[in-house]
């Protein structure tokens, strides 16, 4: 029998991130195609209780490496320890979230294991001659299929691509503590600095009007603001290029590195639809997109698509609302 699908459980000091449960769903689906076991690995300090819960919730045996040096994430230590653990486990697939941690260590780990590395995976296809993994390219306008050609494949799953696994019937926890030598850090140590409090909570708005790079000039933000004013309980937000340009504060950023929102209505103005942004707004009830590029990837993730110059379209729309 081939090696297992091994999930690397992402957590912050024992608090498991939702992305780990999305990996359980992916692994479960892949399992029905490749008929191998599912395992999980947790690295941390005094992490046994967390491992027990994850194992019971997901019905997956968990291998634990516990060491005070693993209290906080470190690319250097994760790569070394996981390479050690996985060489013994000989997994077919190593599943990691495409997060700030997962994307940080996945490719270096793959190189050490002589494994394939496929990042930002959104889906897969179980072909007769093996698995193919889908990932978006060119801002999401094209989907590439990648075929692993090594005994082990490290893949990172784009957050939001799978529903998180929810605990059904509680299973008996299976936790195995591994004895692995953990070296001291040589690179240096990073500590986490919490986010600044801003007072803006995008998750409370029922309607979000979002601006992207396609708005062109900062002065066109005024149009976006005026459009938002047409809706009750609305707020404006932006994709990363708008925040990078300093046109809106970070607290208004929607996407992987910003807020995850699920308003009743999301109006995307000049947003290209890169996967990093889509991850933050997938949960919206209804999505309307205005973009002058008919090939923009945002349209595939929209209910209503409007190919127009928003400098022309938004004033027309506002005028119509005013008249009626």
């Amino acid at each position: 029998m081939k090696g297992p699908i091994t999930i690397i459980v992402e957590h912050v000091r024992g608090v498991v991130r939702p992305a780990a449960y999305e990996l359980v769903t992916l692994a479960g689906k892949m399992q029905s195609a490749c008929r191998v076991d599912i395992r999980a690995v947790i690295l941390g300090d005094d992490i046994g209780g967390c491992a027990e819960k994850f194992s019971a919730d997901c019905g997956v045996p968990v291998a634990v490496v516990s060491d005070s040096r693993l209290r906080d994430y470190s690319a250097e230590l994760y790569t070394a320890v996981l390479a050690d653990v996985l060489k013994r486990m000989e997994p077919s697939f190593v599943c990691v979230p495409h997060s700030s941690q997962g994307a940080d260590f996945a490719s270096g780990l793959a190189l050490r294991l002589g494994a394939a590395c496929i990042t930002g995976v959104e889906g897969y296809h179980a072909a007769e001659d093996g698995m193919l993994f889908y990932r978006p390219i060119f801002g999401g306008k094209i989907r590439a299929a990648i075929r692993p050609k090594a005994a082990t494949t490290v893949l990172t799953l784009q957050p939001g691509s799978c529903r998180p696994h929810t605990a059904d019937a509680a299973a008996d926890a299976q936790v195995d503590t591994l004895d692995v030598a953990v070296a001291d850090r040589r690179w240096g140590e990073l500590t986490t600095r919490p986010a600044e409090k801003t007072g803006v909570d995008l998750t409370e708005a029922k309607v979000l009007v979002a601006a992207g790079r396609g708005i062109g000039e900062e002065e066109n933000l005024e149009l976006v603001r005026r459009l938002a004013e047409q809706f009750p309980q609305s707020a404006i937000c932006g994709s990363r290029p708008i925040i990078d340009a300093g046109w809106m504060p970070y607290s208004r950023q929607v996407g992987v590195t910003g807020a995850t929102v699920s308003p009743e209505l999301y109006v995307a103005c000049g947003i290209s639809g890169a996967v990093q942004h889509l991850s933050g707004m997938r949960g919206a009830g209804f999505v309307v997109s205005v973009n002058s590029d008919p090939g923009a990837a945002i349209f595939n993730a929209s209910d209503i698509c409007i190919v127009e110059d928003l400098k022309v379209f938004i004033p027309q729309f506002i005028q119509l609302v005013d008249e009626q």
């Binding site: 994307a103 940080d104 990648i146 209804f286």
Partner: protein
């Protein structure tokens, strides 16, 4: 201080892309325009700022790409980089991150760099792999999604801040040599100076063929490309601008999303 910046040429984000059935890859058409990857522009800018603070700094720039990609090396030199190199790949084909990273690492091994900067990812392939792979090949410390750099603490270390989820940052000192992948928002890249651009255009670039660094077969391969599946209805409104505005208002009213 010796810095290497890795840059990539990518199509402009609004370039129309289609699938070329003959090659099994993406076609951008002859009219496509290309630019430096935005993440890499920030990496070049960061290197130039270091050189402005520490004038004995030397900045080398390297790209891996087809012939047209030399434009981004010259642009980086126009921004203030000293020397340029071009690892030449075939045009309009898929080049795996495994091969690109092995080639850049082999190139970088020729001299000791204190700092290697790359973009956090490329805008076209979005793999975020080349930076960490180069670091792994060279056995260097690696920090991804870097959003602040400070070298004032000493010559053997760099203070970094890296972006993590929810607005948090991981902060601290990392020892040199190190590879940092740069996140957008760290700075506003400057436009190249005309005088520097003219000088860069008259300079010879070091040109190396990708195959010189052939690391063997990649552990993964492109199987094909397709248009993405729709995740929602994607109904395109038709008609004049005014008609589309009217249709949208009706749709939103039917759903009680506007009063």
């Amino acid at each position: 201080m010796k810095i290497l910046v890795c840059v990539k040429q990518v199509p402009e984000s609004d370039a129309p892309v289609s699938i070329d059935d003959a090659t099994g890859w993406v076609s951008l058409g002859g009219a496509a325009t290309y630019a430096m990857n935005r993440f890499d522009e920030c990496a070049v800018e960061e290197a130039v700022r270091i050189k402005e603070a520490y004038p004995d700094t030397v900045i080398d720039v390297v790209t891996a790409g087809p012939e047209r990609a030399e434009a981004v090396v010259r642009r980086a030199m126009g921004m203030g980089a000293d020397n340029g190199a071009h690892i030449l790949t075939a045009a309009d084909t898929y080049v795996d991150a495994f091969k690109t990273a092995a080639a850049i690492a082999a190139y970088a091994r020729k001299q000791p760099y204190d700092l290697i900067l790359t973009g956090a990812m490329s805008e076209d392939l979005m793999q975020a792999q080349v930076g960490p792979l180069v670091a792994a090949h060279l056995g260097m410390a690696c920090v991804t999604s870097t959003i602040a750099i400070d070298l004032s603490a000493g010559t053997d270390r760099v203070y970094v801040e890296r972006e993590v989820e929810g607005g948090c940052r991981e902060v601290g000192d990392i020892r040199l040599p190190a590879l940092l992948t740069i996140q957008t928002g760290i700075n506003t890249p400057r436009y190249p100076a005309l005088s520097k651009l003219l000088r860069a255009n008259s300079r010879e670039l070091e040109i190396v063929d990708l195959d010189v660094f052939d690391p063997g077969d990649s552990p993964q391969a492109l199987e094909g490309v397709a248009l993405p599946e729709k995740t929602r209805d994607a109904v395109f409104l038709e008609g004049s601008t005014a008609q589309k505005a009217g249709q949208l208002l009706n749709i939103l009213r039917e759903r009680s999303l506007i009063t």
